[in-house]
């Protein structure tokens, strides 16, 4: 049963492929005729070109090499014209026409017997001509040799026919009779079945320009008898078909195909859909009417019946347009397999969620983009098995495609564990191609640079292969997806892989929604984004409270801090010009939002889920729930990201639907590239939510002179000092203090965070300074007062981190504490210092310290697995280690850690850093598991924990941990890791050693 299913799926995919190719060919020839008549426009050329590109790609997926080769050649021949380096010539147009004819003949053959008929003769004759056209643009006009040999403008057709005639005695039997029929009707009689053997051989001929008869025939003995009989069948059936082909009858498809389905114009379904929509509205009005005038029971009955029928009709019409996304995705199994074989790569493709249903038009629209992405991943992303092994990866590359519904959208995610996108290569290529200037490049983040792959005309591949890489691909991906109102997201880490996420709207799907009111207007919020509704009674002191944190209101809901937005305010605020947002000036945007005036006693808050975090939206009123049909807005309104579309309400008025993600990004709530952190050997995005470990760390509580409580993790603090006011000096604009024979740069938290001062700090004789050590450098943080050292649960909530310099918040004893990102701040200050002093800042980098390139290079080959459930510490350690040059991968509990180990080669990881207290599998269990397994005997295990005592240590050692490390101690971490796997005893000694080595 499953088998039959699969067959029919493949069959359906094939039919779809054929239909699509035929459609594209029709468009292609139509455009070609326009081109011939001199109406050439760049858009048209681009469309012709893309059409061929797609035909090529699809055909290669299905393994129809002749179509593929021919389409590739046609595409190539168009390339110079598209680039404007060559004029449209008659030769070119003729060649393209012929190519299109051959392709359609091939397609017809495939349709009738699922096998590419053998037209290698024709293909082989055409391809070199077309290729010539593309490569010899410059000379072809003044090189008579070439013309004479390869392209005879008028005689080309005749020539190919004569060639064919010579060879017809050979190929005639190979099941391609209808092709011969078309081009050589006179030779029909020569078609004989006796010479079948000669044919299969042509199948893999790369470039059969000439067909010497002897060598092929000689090897024909290898042919299996089975296939001969098959061929016989095939050619027989073809013979029967030939007559039909002759008069271009549309019935060629064969009887078995045309029975169950008919093809309907999508526009017709659209109209149907709209009409049903109107019917529903009238129905609603009618029902309302009957409710009021309920005297006529007969009328009442009829309207009820109408009601039910309308609902059913609506449902059915909706279904006509829905298709499982698997229709497209399943095609890729074959594509990937074949491409992998061709490229000599081992690839495992996993498809999840292929049953996810999607509107037909949308499936059509995403088909090409998906194809391009998959091809790119296989061609450029995944490395050759040997290269992968050398990198310590499993030699089989993994490619995952996941599709699922998420809040009224379909998410299709494709991730590979290949080489990732190298920002440097992309950047220089983009500059080289003139897509951006070097200046602009310098200002871009890696992520922005990676996004350049979507720019028109971009392609990093040094050589154009037949599989991908002509620079049309990713451009098409983006335009196609955006045309249907979707979004393309990209996350890639060089060396570990790339994930591309398509967010596709379900424009026609009925979405259950909550109707809310703000600005005296109704808005619809998709239910899927909705977490809960909270109503706050301000007169009731026991109810949840709205607090103000750094000027922004937050809601403390069951101990969790949620940022709050007021819908009315969000919707009246001017759209911020984000053009210059590149530079990170965002922080300047003061988003002081007030929920006042709280003239009302009740506040309605809708708690919404935006991807990885939640926030509360204050609305004027919550009305009702309703099933809505989301209609897209005019393209020029797409800029307003707050809305995903509009819907028509029961009373006929229009309501806008809110885009929850759009709103949160518009007000910059979300943590920027949450997604980028999640890629690794574990494949794809991983979301770590609300899994915080309940262990305690020590924090220094400081008064910075601004409202709110701020804390710094104690482990990063080196010393606490007090300086006299006179001791402060200015070096340039930087405040400094002489300290231990050197200058200690001093910075102030409120200044850095752009916090409003509640009161000007009183001038005192002594200013307390927190001295932070980072690597070899010291930095001072000027504070108003050092309050206390407290042991706090290190469950850091990273939801509210609205500006750089803040790691997150913690709740302790009903008090909200802001955790300061000291290192982030130091980075910023350091960058500033470096600019001012004109010195390279690199020297002071942690870990890299004074170490030479040797150590760095050594570290770059070593991979550390970080197992830690608290996302804060996980990212922290990852950052520290990666800064030092180590490769890292992360897992958020023991189970994941173990599977990461198991899924990789035994020597893939060089060290495991693990937390002890974790949900699921604890660090101790993990350590026992690892040390029980002999293949990991080389692997040092290091426990990282907030606090430990002697007995902890003993238990850890028994479980297999070699060392215990304190959390957040960056310097120690690097030193220990170096010691364990980099064979360097300590930083200072390594320096000596290196000095010695270099002096020798």
């Amino acid at each position: 049963m499953a088998n039959g299913n699969k067959d029919s799926k493949e069959e359906a995919a094939l039919i779809e492929y054929l239909d699509e190719c035929v459609e594209m060919l029709e468009r292609f020839t139509k455009n070609l005729s326009l081109m011939e008549s001199g109406k050439v426009s760049p858009e048209m050329l681009a469309s012709i070109y893309r059409e061929m590109h797609t035909i090529k790609g699809n055909s290669q997926f299905f393994g129809f090499s002749q179509v593929g080769v021919l389409a590739h050649a046609m595409e190539s021949s168009l390339d110079p014209v598209r680039k404007g380096t060559a004029p449209v010539t008659q030769i070119l147009v003729d060649g393209l026409y012929q190519g299109a004819d051959v392709i359609s003949t091939l397609l017809a053959g495939i349709r009738s017997n699922h096998k590419e008929p053998d037209l290698h003769v024709l293909v082989g004759e055409l391809v070199p001509r077309l290729v010539d056209l593309s490569s010899n643009v410059d000379q072809d006009l003044n090189s008579p040799e070439h013309q004479g040999q390869k392209v005879e403008p008028s005689g080309a057709e005749a020539r190919s026919t004569t060639d064919l005639k010579e060879e017809v005695s050979l190929p005639a039997a190979n099941g391609n009779c209808m092709a011969l029929e078309v081009s050589l009707p006179a030779n029909k009689k020569e078609i004989e079945l006796g010479e079948i053997e000669g044919f299969v051989l042509f199948d893999d001929l790369p470039d059969p320009v000439k067909l010497p008869e002897t060598p092929q025939l000689a090897s024909s003995g290898a042919l299996e008898s089975e296939s001969i009989s098959k061929l016989e069948d095939v050619s027989q059936s073809n013979l029967e078909l030939t007559s039909k082909f002759g008069d271009q009858s549309p019935k060629l498809i064969g009887d078995e195909v045309q029975s169950e389905t008919i093809r309907v114009q999508v526009a017709l379904l659209d109209n149907l859909m709209n009409l049903v929509g109107e019917l529903v509205l009238i129905r609603n009005q009618l029902l309302q009417h009957t409710k009021v005038n309920d005297s006529d029971s007969e009328f009442d009955k009829m309207s009820q019946r109408l009601n039910i029928l309308t609902a059913e009709l609506q449902n059915e019409v909706m279904k006509t347009r829905m298709q499982p996304v698997g229709n497209v995705l399943n095609k890729f199994t074959r594509v990937v397999r074949e491409m992998g074989r061709e490229l000599g790569k081992k690839i495992e493709l996993n498809i999840y969620g292929s049953e996810t249903e999607l509107d037909k038009t949308i499936i059509e629209a995403v088909k090409d983009p998906l194809t391009h992405i998959i091809r790119n991943a296989v061609d450029h992303g995944i490395e050759l098995p040997a290269d992968r092994k050398a990198l310590g990866k499993h030699d089989t590359g993994r490619l995952n495609i996941k599709a699922h519904h998420e809040s009224g959208q379909v998410i299709i995610e494709m991730s590979d564990d290949g080489r990732g996108l190298d920002p440097k290569a992309i950047g220089s290529s983009a500059v080289h191609k003139g897509l951006i200037t070097a200046d602009a490049l310098a200002k871009m983040t890696d992520r922005e640079i990676q996004f350049l792959i979507f720019a028109p005309g971009f392609s990093t591949a040094a050589a154009v292969s037949s599989l991908s890489g002509r620079g049309v691909g990713m451009d098409v991906v983006k335009t196609n997806v955006e045309r249907i109102g979707g979004m393309v997201d990209l996350a890639s880490r060089p060396g570990t892989g790339t994930t591309i996420k398509l967010k596709i709207p379900l424009t026609l799907a009925i979405v259950p929604a909550l109707i809310v009111k703000a600005l005296n207007q109704r808005f619809a919020i998709p239910q899927s984004k909705l977490v809960e509704l909270v109503r706050i009674d301000r007169s009731d002191s026991k109810s949840e409270k709205i607090e103000v944190l750094q000027g922004s209101p937050v809601l403390r809901l069951r101990g969790k801090i949620l940022p709050l937005l007021n819908l009315s305010e969000v919707l009246t605020r001017k759209i911020q010009e984000s053009q210059e947002g590149q530079e990170g000036h965002d922080r300047q945007q003061n988003k002081e939002m007030k929920i006042n005036p709280f003239a009302v006693d009740f506040v309605n808050i809708v708690i919404l889920n935006a991807d990885s975090f939640q926030f509360g939206l204050v609305v004027d009123a919550v009305e009702d729930t309703a099933d809505i049909v989301v209609k897209s807005l005019s393209s020029f309104l797409k800029e307003i990201t707050h809305f995903s579309g509009a819907t028509i309400m029961g009373d006929g008025s229009v309501a806008l639907t809110l885009d929850v993600m759009g709103i949160s990004t518009a007000v910059r709530l979300s943590a920027e590239t949450e997604a980028a952190a999640g890629i690794g050997a574990l494949g794809g995005f991983q979301e770590y939510r609300g899994r915080h470990q309940m262990d305690f760390s020590e924090f220094l509580m400081i008064d910075v002179g601004a409202p709110g409580s701020y804390v710094i993790p104690l482990t990063v603090v080196s010393r606490l000092e007090e300086f006299d006011v006179e001791e402060f000096e200015l070096s340039g604009e930087q405040k400094v203090v002489r300290y231990r024979n050197s200058l200690l740069p001093i910075f102030s938290l409120p200044e850095f965070l752009h916090l409003p001062f509640s009161a000007k700090p009183a001038i005192k004789d002594k200013t307390p300074v927190v001295v932070i050590r980072r690597g070899d450098s010291l930095f001072g943080v000027e504070v108003l007062q050092i309050q206390d050292v407290a042991a706090l649960p290190s469950a850091i909530d990273q939801t509210v981190r609205d500006r750089p310099g803040i790691l997150g918040t913690m709740v302790a004893d009903d008090q909200v504490l802001v955790v300061v990102d000291i290192f982030g701040m130091i980075d910023a200050v350091k960058a500033k210092l470096a600019v001012e002093a004109g010195v390279e800042a690199k020297e002071t980098d942690i870990g890299i310290g004074a170490s030479s390139k040797d150590i760095l290079n050594k570290r770059r080959k070593l991979r550390v697995l970080i197992v830690e459930d608290s996302s804060f510490f996980r990212n922290y350690m990852r950052q520290i280690l990666e800064e030092a040059g180590y490769l890292t991968e992360i897992a958020c509990d023991g189970i994941e850690g173990w599977s990461a180990l198991e899924n990789a080669e035994p020597k893939y990881f060089n060290l495991v850093l693990s937390d002890i207290e974790m949900p699921g599998m604890t660090g101790l269990e993990l350590a026992r598991k690892i040390s029980d397994d002999r293949k990991y005997s080389h692997l040092p295990l290091v426990a990282i924990t907030a606090r430990f005592s002697g007995s902890d240590f003993e238990r850890g050692r028994a479980a297999g941990f070699t060392r215990y490390l304190e959390k957040l101690n960056a310097e120690k971490l690097i030193t220990e890791v170096d010691e364990l796997i980099c064979q360097v005893s300590s930083m200072s000694e390594s320096r000596k050693e290196l000095k010695l080595a270099s002096s020798n």
Binding site: E278, L281, T572
Partner: protein
């Protein structure tokens, strides 16, 4: 539907096709008034003219995007011509909708009052005088001298371009 439509375009389409092709030097324009000024749009581009309808405003949208209209189940974006043309004269309470299809999306241009479908001769065509304020001129393809006044011709494709580029 309650909002009865005056399907002007339907009635005049035949005339436009027959007359336009045969004579070649005459064309038909659907006219309307904005702030007392007479404007015309190629009659073949006007889908229909609809009575004032309920408009749902779009927060954060530019001033000239007045809101959304439910046109028999189709969501139509209403564009305020006064705002677009920079005409500040006191607006009426309600607007007529001149519905056109621009770049595949339905756009309703908000006019004060609807005029007749006017047939004009090519010889009466003039380029837009430079004195016309730039705000309006950028949407005009020219003017026609008609019996009692001047008819400013609006090129809705330019409006479409403006909407998409500006935003």
């Amino acid at each position: 539907m309650q909002a009865a439509t005056e399907s002007r375009s339907d009635g005049s389409k035949d005339g436009a096709k027959g007359g336009g092709k045969a004579l070649a030097e005459s064309s038909q324009f659907s006219t309307f008034y904005v702030a007392g000024r007479l404007y015309g749009i190629d009659v073949t581009r006007v889908q229909e003219v609809v009575r004032p309808m309920h408009i749902t405003p779009i927060p954060l949208a530019p001033e000239y995007v007045v809101g959304l209209i439910n046109l028999r189940g189709q969501v139509t974006t209403a564009i305020g011509l006064r705002e677009l043309f920079g005409l500040k004269e006191s607006p009426p309470d309600t607007f007529m909708n001149v519905v056109c299809r621009i770049d595949g999306s339905l756009i309703s241009l908000q006019a004060d009052e609807i005029g007749d479908v006017v047939e004009v001769m090519e010889k009466d065509f003039e380029l837009t005088p430079q004195t016309v304020p730039a705000e309006v001129r950028q949407f005009m393809s020219g003017i026609y001298k008609v019996s009692d006044s001047l008819l400013s011709i609006i090129d809705i494709d330019r409006i479409g371009k403006f909407l998409n580029h500006k935003l």
